[in-house]
Amino acid sequence: MGEDVAIECDDISLTYSAKSGTPVEALQRVCFRVNPRRVTAIIGPSGCGKSTLLLIIRGLLAPSGGRVRFVDAQSNAAVSAKPRMATVWQGFNLFPWRTVSENVGFGLEVGGISRSERTARARRSLAQVDLAGFENKYPRQLSGGMRQRVGLARALVMEPDILLLDEPFGALDAQTRLVLQEQLAQLVEKSGTTALLVTHSIEEAILLADTVLVMTARPGRIAAEIHVDLPRPRSMATTHASGYSSLFDQIYSLLRDEVVRAMATETESA
């Protein structure tokens, strides 16, 4: 990719009809920009539509209003070819009947790449996430943390210009989560890809992101954009660095009100 591609979300809205038939406004005129070669985190209360937003950006879900544009970062002109994107999912979404290597090679296989090249590239990608030697295991034989590293390898093997991470560590236990957050931070720093991370963990957002977007309770809007200028490489030690706790407090106070609002809506509808 010669040019640096930014994502521009212009007034994205999504309204769907619930089972009862009443329309639900999930996203309301969401506007933001994701800068190239940066990590942008979206944080918000559960149900605010942050994962939905990721699906819209990936083109897997059509918004009711607004549009997603992929633009050249310098000229702001729309790019001719859509950038390559790959997603890492909260539920891993590995194909249980495929081996680890066949899972990682899935995207290459549908792209018509030969078996031998698939195997070789899958092996390299798995080595990147410290899973060399597990090529012929099935997902069920792996722990949650290992499964998500397979999910990460499956996305990385596509050599994406933009990496989309949908609460990638949400289903993992706290300790596995810490280690994987650190590893992901290093991986992203090294590769310099553009990454968009959806999370409900403030710590994860600060550790990984250059920009944190705080979303409101449903209908989701962008409440604030916070820049994280803590030095890289970051690790768990970053949580003791100066500036960390003020960032944490700033995000928390924004988030707290929204979480309370989300809880109130839940009680109303229940």
């Binding site: 699906l55 990936r58 897997l60 994107m85 790959a86 997603t87 999912w89 539920g91 979404n93 590995l94 194909f95 249980p96 009947w97 495929r98 899935f106 995207g107 296989e109 549908v110 792209g111 099935y138 997902p139 069920r140 034989q141 499956r154 596509m158």
Partner: protein
Amino acid sequence: MPGERSPMEATTENATRRPRNKFIQKLGEPRVLGWIAVAFVLIMWEAIVAIAHLNPIYLPRPTQILIALVSMFRTGGLLNDLLATLGRIFGGFAISLAIGSLLGIWMATSDRVQAIADNFIAALYPLPKITLIPLLIIWLGTGGPFMLAISALGALFPIVINTVLGIRQCDPGLILAARDLGATNRQIIRMVLLPSAIPSIFAGVRLGIGVSIILVVAAEMVVGKVGLGARLYLAGQILETEQVFAVLIVLAILGVVVTKAQDWVDVRLNQWRLS
């Protein structure tokens, strides 16, 4: 289930087993015990028929049945009957696997096709397929096409219904992941929906083969000139009771072989589910 232990046995096994004579201990093994019971029934059968001088037209001795069975295979052409019946069962089954899984995929991926097919299936599925024998004979005669049709009809519905079920149960996350990785709709059907439905399709296959066996043998009894069902009916007509039993034994063994083969395939297919 042979070879599987009841929960009670499993919990007390180690605690209560005292060292005993190895031979006796072996006799007590559930699997061995099962075969001993079979042998015991056969010996009692033989003895009672001999002692009570029962007319072999009503109940022949197991040894007579065995002799009849061997001679039917060696000179009576029973092998031809067996092969004819197997050909009909698996030929029809192959047709219904191909049609059934394709129709199932089509129904599961299109609400319109589903809506069109639903009423027909609701009407035809609970209908005992054996009642279609007269109609099929009128349409197709009593030859090969009729036999294949009746066999295919038996397996078709369980396969269609289970294919639809299996595909509908596919984790939507897997479809999203496949789309994200660039798969086309066709690729998603072939590489995601179909593999994830395979255990369910195979459950349909299991039910389907059972129905196919019943229908083929029944159809052979009604109109067949060759085939195990025809042989069975003929032997009954001329009161060759040993031959009736001999054919029943072949049918029973056929059932066991098919069941075991399905177990074997099931384990292969589900390798990724185990461990």
